[in-house]
Amino acid sequence: MRIRITRASLLISGAAALMLLARGAAGQAEGDTIVLGAAVSLTGKYSVNGKNTKDGYDLAVERINEMGGVKVGPKSYKLKVVYYDDESTPARAAQLTERLISQDGVKFMLGAYGSGLTKAMAPVTEKYKVPHVEGNGAARELFTHGYKYLFAVLSTSDYYLRDAVNLAAEVAKEHGRDPKTLKLAMAFENDPFSLDVRDGVLEDAKKYGMKVLIDDKLPPEINDMAATLTKVRAVKPDLLLVSGHEKGAALVVRQTGEMKIDVPMMAATHCDSARIAETMPKLAEGFLCASQWDRKLAYKDRWFGTADEYATRFEKRFNYPAPYQAAESTASVLVFADAFARAGSLDPEKVRDAIASTDMMTMYGPIKFDSTGKNTAKPMVLYQVQGGDYKVVAPTKWAEAKLIWPRKLPQ
């Protein structure tokens, strides 16, 4: 098809371009409003988590504006977020980021949902030197490219089970044992996320000098863990770690229970979303689950109060319980608010430097970025299934219940 360029169409496109330019100029400082850009998944396979992300951003913006906005230098600004739907596809996310920055004139970006989409967006924000704070991309590789403008408030995936190793070492010391003598068994799914988790565990195990006796990689289509668990029974480890999304968590709970595998400490990722305590309360008793955040933690900030108050506010506003995906999204906006105030300017470079030197407490947890841009101050949360419920047992400083150790074999 050939496109005929007529005078009318030229005029129209010229006018459109002018309008876009005008909008672009307004983008960075629309009177007394700071505009943040975000491409989130409102449709497609991440639509549920995408909505959590958007709700988290919206709640933060509403709350900050309600409290008088952000004071930058002498002037107070309100916040606003411009959204586009990335349709859960990385290519679209990159495209929309480009559009937000170069057409809509957005100078500050919030993250999308998920590592894949964040990975697609990061090179774009890097190219335009736009600060990009995200709360939903946990892959470790996001922070190995030397990106200067990407910051993550959440713990990266290699941190998921590190705290289980630390907790085991802590318990060993309490019982007069050298952590060096601890034996580890691990079964991790052969996918990028779980292999990240594995890297983190191996690093920490090495730090303590623990011995890794079993290091199985579960195929993605795993339906049965009997062979691995037979090995576990044979070598009697002190700690069993499993990461295989919901399926891995459900399988290990079910099969350790049936095979009566007696390991004093067992931890897995995704076991809260696999609902192990709800569906198999007896078998799951004593299991440790890793999670990013929980409303029962004693974290606090000046915008929302405690984590629990945040969760209550969230539920009142959106009519569903606050998932951690929303909390980390809210925290991303808080990081921006804090950085704007400290930078005293809306210059992206100055804001970037202010973000890099962030050291704050939020209802989501402490936030402090290392040189690669990931938040290393916030620990992961470990729940333990106790009496059919998830109780936060680590980090010990914020815990609501004491760890039950050794885990008792369910009868």
Binding site: N190, L218, T230, A250, Q255, K260, T279
Partner: protein
């Protein structure tokens, strides 16, 4: 080779692996019966075999939710899946039966994707399990444990195999099925309604898969995407065991299950499947030479 040493040091581990493997094999045997039946009678390789297992699992899970004991859910799931298989034949599969094998593979592959996605939409992607409330048996002073549900699965596999043989031998429909398998055209000439026979065969296959799915839901966990390993395992079992021999299917399934478990123990879970496929190649090559020798004797 640390793992191998462990195995020799404590032989009781071998007992555990063997038992677990054989009992897992029984569940694979069920879906393999079905595949052999459909393949032998209809000349159709059903790639959606695993999805029928998955649906059986969900049928059992929802019956369990409704308060029915999972053991009764096994026959109930079989009946439900029989009806489902019948409908599937009458709506889709009849179009590809007696056609090129490639077409039937494509069609059933499409079915398998459709069923997966439908299950994902209808039942959700959550991992589920039905607790039959069985305990665990301890052997060798607790060194070997056997979940009782696995013994039940084993028994169900044996009984189903025996029933299947009797059904094919004695019943009117069974005879018609065997006649159709031998020569569909001749069977038609003799007055057998082969369309009905095919529908029955496919329904039977679905019913057997349904029973195995119900056992999966009670033994492990179910989710919409669990099908593929069952399809692949049944395929392998049938290739080795041949089409016309239920007892051989059972024997091969049990053997493969045990081999798989030992491989998982010695080489680690990541090489479990690779080992099994390597074994398949070895068996096929060996059988080829063996058959060639037989042929020489005949000359």
């Amino acid at each position: 080779m640390e793992n191998l040493r462990l195995l020799f040091e404590s032989p009781v581990l071998s007992v555990q692996l063997l038992l677990d493997g054989v009992l897992i094999g029984a569940i694979f045997a069920l879906s393999a019966y079905g595949m052999a039946l459909v393949w032998g009678v209809m000349g159709l390789i059903n790639v959606a075999q695993g999805e029928l297992v998955m649906l059986g699992g969900y049928a059992a899970f929802y019956l369990y939710q409704a308060g029915i004991h999972p053991l009764f859910a096994v026959p109930a799931a079989a009946v439900a899946l029989f009806v489902f298989g019948w409908i599937l034949y009458r709506t889709v599969v009849f179009r590809v039966v007696e056609k090129d094998l490639f077409i039937s593979i494509l069609a059933t592959f499409g079915l398998s994707i459709l069923l997966q996605q439908l299950a994902n939409t209808l039942f959700g992607a959550d991992v589920r399990t039905a607790d039959a409330g069985f305990g665990t048996l301890f052997l060798f002073g607790g060194a070997v444990t056997v979940a009782e549900i696995k013994l039940v699965s084993f028994a169900v596999a044996l009984v189903t195999g025996a029933l299947l043989i009797q059904f094919l031998k004695r019943s009117r429909m069974g005879q018609a099925i065997r006649a159709t398998a031998q020569n569909a055209r001749a069977a038609r000439v003799m007055g057998v309604d082969t369309q009905r026979v095919y529908a029955w065969t496919f329904g039977l296959n679905a019913a057997i898969c349904g029973a195995s799915g119900a056992l999966v839901a009670m033994t492990w966990v179910i989710h919409p995407y669990l099908g593929l390993p069952y399809t692949v395992r049944s395929f392998m079992i049938v290739i080795i065991a041949g089409l016309g021999n239920v007892a051989a299917v059972l024997a091969v399934a049990l053997g493969l299950g045990a081999a798989e478990n030992f491989a998982g123990f010695v080489f680690g879970a990541e090489y479990q499947a690779a080992f099994i496929f390597g074994l398949l190649v070895v068996i096929l090559v060996w059988r080829r030479f063996w058959l060639a020798r037989e042929r020489r004797y005949l000359q």
